[in-house]
């Protein structure tokens, strides 16, 4: 049996209490919140455990808990940022919470991006729509130790200009000369003053044609985008082992008990959410 | 020819002529006394069909399987009279067209299983009318009589005890031909109308809510009670509702496909005066 993450007296379902210290509206229905631990011991535990790629269960008592990634990087671990779209009961409640309100966090759970293995390599980040948050967490983890990596390229697309999230950060990345940022919106989603690309992510990616040699790709997005972008990456010569992605299945416990996130024998909550494309290919595709 | 043989050969005919694409009926089960739903699509497989007094399940719910009727082809289904009535209600509630359903009708009386004349839902109108009259004079179920004699408090305790065994597996809903909602009210969480927990309150809420949703729609086929792994006599609740609906509105659900849903229609002569 594997080593326990808990002591036997501990209640694995009890979340930590968080203060909401900042909020930012990113796009229609999409919001980012910065949370701080109320209990310094919980903060210490989080700092010990958190690595980029992990997720948590964000909650409001009376409504429930909802699963999403930690959008802030491990290099900035004295707070938690999360970005979510208002879509269900819990996210609706979170969306109406205000600075100074309390909420809960349970985690961090799951695996991580093996960032040390990326040292010395070129990095290609590809994200679609609301899936920038998990990618952003890796991007900042790498930018915060920029000298350890080669060329960094970010390809980010959304349906419309309004749907792009982290607009301030996109501007910041655009200004940096050590990052190549390729922004795109779907055809018809552009505004008159849009000066970036128009087209679907896979097409734009193929046009940008980043070199596959010594390069690791991190790809996050809706299932359909992932499917076509993987095909494009293959065309560009990327090996599945060098492409990382995240799966975001429905979860209730986050710790391998409740039984709903399984894809084949894989518990996404424990063995994921970070997988290489090769690992995803080995899963039963019909259950994804 | 036995009724089973009769229907086997009719099913074979219907399938080989291409009149229907599928026959939904009964087959042998995992023990000699069990029957299970079977779906026959080839004329060579009609020998799998069984028809005897153990065939009690109302099969109409299977007609609403996603995509089954979307190609406008016909499906034949084994139905007793309750089954035909549920077919009528499903048509009245715009869930299917009776023209797509061919009825292989039967009646179980004691040990005897007989064929019903007709193959279209409308063919059974007079039989259903007779059943309606019979329903009026039917003596109440033994347990129902006992319940009626109780004080409201005693009755409440009775149902509380019954519902305490409910495990919220939703077999009653899934087996019910009338529970066709794509998303059940209990599965809605914005707002959360019903507690999903299987505690006293949650169970009471669920079972009473379902009984109300079935008032004036239940054909008393018994699928719910047979499916319930906790042996809750759900049919008694539905039966009581049916008595009420028949007594107050002379409404017997499933007379024909044009019948208006009694609790969703309005009449000036409604006995409930408060409506006016």
């Amino acid at each position: 049996m594997t080593a326990h993450n808990t002591t036997s007296g501990e209640n694995i379902y009890r979340p930590a209490v968080m203060n909401i210290v900042a909020t930012r509206d990113e796009a229609p229905g999409v919001r980012t919140m910065r949370l701080e631990f109320q209990d310094p011991l919980e903060l210490e535990k989080f700092k010990q455990a958190y690595r980029t790629g992990m997720f948590g269960l964000y909650g409001i008592y009376g409504e429930g808990e909802s699963t999403f990634c930690v959008a802030s990087p491990e290099t900035r671990n004295d707070y938690i940022e999360c970005t979510f779209r208002k879509s269900g009961r819990v996210t609706a409640a979170l969306a109406s919470a205000e600075i100074g309100d309390l909420m809960t966090f349970r985690g961090p759970y799951g695996n991580r991006f093996p960032i040390e293995e990326f040292h010395g390599k070129n990095l290609l980040f590809i994200a679609g729509g609301i899936a920038l948050p998990p990618t952003r967490s890796v991007i900042w983890s790498c930018l915060d130790q920029r000298d350890k990596f080669g060329k960094i390229t970010i390809v980010y697309g959304a349906r419309t200009v309004a749907d792009l999230v982290y607009k301030q950060e996109l501007e910041e990345w655009e200004k940096r000369d050590d990052v190549e940022l390729v922004l795109t919106v779907d055809p018809g989603g552009e505004t008159p003053d849009w000066k970036h690309r128009v087209g679907f992510v896979p097409t734009i990616l193929e046009e940008a044609a980043p070199a596959a040699g010594n390069c690791v790709a991190v790809l996050c997005g809706p299932p359909i985008m992932i499917k076509f972008t993987l095909a494009s990456l293959k065309k560009l010569g990327f090996e599945e082992e060098n492409v990382y992605t995240t799966l975001e299945n429905r979860m209730k416990c986050g710790i391998g008990k409740c039984g709903r996130c399984n894809v084949g024998s894989v518990y996404v909550c424990k063995e994921g959410p970070v997988f290489t494309a090769a690992e995803v290919s080995a899963m039963p595709q019909a259950d994804l | 020819m036995s009724i089973q043989e009769h229907y086997r050969s009719r099913a074979k005919e219907l399938l080989s002529s291409g009149t229907v694409k599928m026959v939904i009926g009964y087959g042998t089960g995992s023990t000699p006394d069990r029957r299970r739903p079977v779906f026959i699509t080839s004329p060579d497989e009609t020998d799998r069909l069984v028809l005897d007094k153990a065939c009690r399940t109302n099969l109409s719910g299977y007609l609403l399987r996603e995509g089954l009727l979307s190609d406008q082809k016909q499906v034949a289904v084994f139905f007793n009279l309750d089954g035909v009535r549920s077919l009528n209600i499903l048509a009245a509630e715009s869930q299917l067209e009776t023209a797509q359903v061919l009825v292989l009708g039967f009646r179980i009386e004691g040990e005897e299983v007989t064929a019903l004349q007709g193959e279209r839902a409308a063919d059974f109108k007079s039989l259903i009318a007779a059943a309606k009259e019979q329903r009026k004079s039917q003596p109440p179920h033994e347990l129902q009589e006992k319940l009626e004699a109780m004080t409201p408090k005693e009755r409440f305790s009775f149902w509380e005890a019954e519902f305490s065994r409910c495990i919220k597996c939703y077999a009653c809903r899934q087996a019910c031909p009338m529970c066709w909602c794509r998303r059940c009210v209990v599965d809605n969480n914005q707002p959360q109308w019903v507690n999903t927990s299987s505690h006293t309150l949650g169970n009471l809420e669920w079972n009473l809510l379902r009984a109300f949703h079935l008032a004036g729609r239940c054909v008393e086929c018994g699928n719910c009670s047979r499916a319930c792994p906790a042996d809750i006599p759900l049919h008694l609740l539905n039966r009581r509702m049916s008595d009420e609906v028949q007594g107050s509105f002379d409404h017997y659900p499933g007379m024909d496909e044009a019948q208006e849903p009694v609790l969703a229609s309005f009449r000036k002569d409604d006995p409930e005066t408060f409506i006016l």
Binding site: Y61, N249, K252, N262, A286 | S197
Partner: protein, 337 residues
């Protein structure tokens, strides 16, 4: 010579345990439905049942269980933890398949994260199993490599005597020994003959099934749709399964105070895996039935080295449309190339 417990002494045993502050549970029938309930005397026990309708798991993993109480203040959230009490329990008259099921779920609830709600009850319970001298058409423990006298998950195994007047008693764990020592004066020594165990025929070749299930080619076989065509998508097979452990977490109350609960949930339900976006990885009933079979006989065993089925047969016994593990695995056995 063996240690014997005569039926005539059982009432005194129960009384003794209760005097010692233990709660005694066993198979009993209420409202026509059998299950494990607390009993005060031997007369309330239904020890002749082949198997109770509901399973032993309810004593460790209730249908609905309060986990946390919460009260929201202006600058703080108070929570109260409803970790189950440590009250010691004797569970008498368990069938070996049910006892084995608890051991299956121990692996899951201890996997990296230790679930105190499960283990507080596990650690305070002593399971007295009775080997089976009767079975019915649905029993299939032998197909799962178990037997009517399996000891897995039990603390004490009782073997019925041929005369029908008691049991030969064997402690299997320290916990079992302790529970026996408190009733030692009520136990007798004797050479009474044990009753023959029931003969449960092997119904399918588990290893052949597992080979078929492990072959990725079969994942999208037409077989899954055909075998599950009549499934109505209720949760009775999962809720009456001793090893099915899936759950939901639900808050009841308002945003000021209330209770967070752990409720049974089922992979048979279409909403179980539905994403908020509307995408559902297991959108059809056949995909859900496949998941249930694959999880029990392939995935779970890969992870925990044990099948998540102990052959109690309740899935088929109680299925409204006469489906179940047995039929599916029997059919898979015949699909072997």
């Amino acid at each position: 010579m063996a240690t014997l417990l005569y039926s005539a002494s059982l009432n005194d045993c129960i009384a003794r345990w209760r005097e010692d502050g233990l709660m005694v549970f066993g198979p009993s029938t209420a409202g026509g439905v059998s299950g494990f309930r607390e009993v005060e005397d031997a007369g309330s026990l239904d020890l002749d049942l082949v198997l109770t309708r509901s399973t032993l798991k309810e004593l460790f993993f209730p249908r609905t269980e309060p986990m946390l109480g919460y009260r929201i203040g202006k600058q703080q959230i108070e929570t109260e933890e409803f970790i189950p009490p440590e009250g010691r329990r004797i569970i008498f008259g368990v069938r070996p398949c049910d006892a084995a099921g608890m051991q299956v779920d121990d692996a899951l609830f201890d996997w990296d994260y230790h679930d105190a709600y499960w283990f507080r009850r596990r650690d305070s319970s002593v399971i007295f199993s009775i080997a089976c001298t009767h079975s019915d058409a649905f029993c299939m423990c032998t197909s799962l490599g178990l037997a009517p006298d399996s000891t897995k998950g039990s603390d004490v195994l009782l073997r019925p005597l041929a005369a029908g007047n008691g049991w030969k008693v064997e402690a299997l764990t320290e916990r079992g020994e302790n529970a026996l020592s408190s009733i030692s004066s009520l136990l007798k020594e004797g050479g009474d003959a044990p009753a023959p165990l029931t003969d449960v025929p092997v119904k399918f070749d588990l290893e052949a099934c597992r080979r078929w299930l492990a072959d990725p080619e079969n994942f999208e076989s037409r077989f899954w749709k055909e075998i599950s065509e009549r499934c109505i998508g209720c949760g009775s097979c999962t809720y009456l399964c001793p090893t099915c452990h899936c759950f939901d977490i639900q808050d009841e109350g308002d945003t000021y105070q209330g209770v967070r609960r752990k409720n049974w949930d089922s992979c048979s339900f279409s909403l179980f895996t539905m994403h908020t976006s509307g995408h559902n990885p297991r959108a059809t009933q056949s995909a859900r039935w496949r998941q249930r079979i694959m999880h029990k006989f392939n995935y779970f065993s890969l992870k925990f080295n044990v099948n998540s089925c102990t052959g109690c047969g309740r899935c088929t016994r109680e299925c409204p449309v006469d489906m179940g593990v047995t039929e599916t695995l029997q059919a898979i056995s015949t699909l072997q190339r």
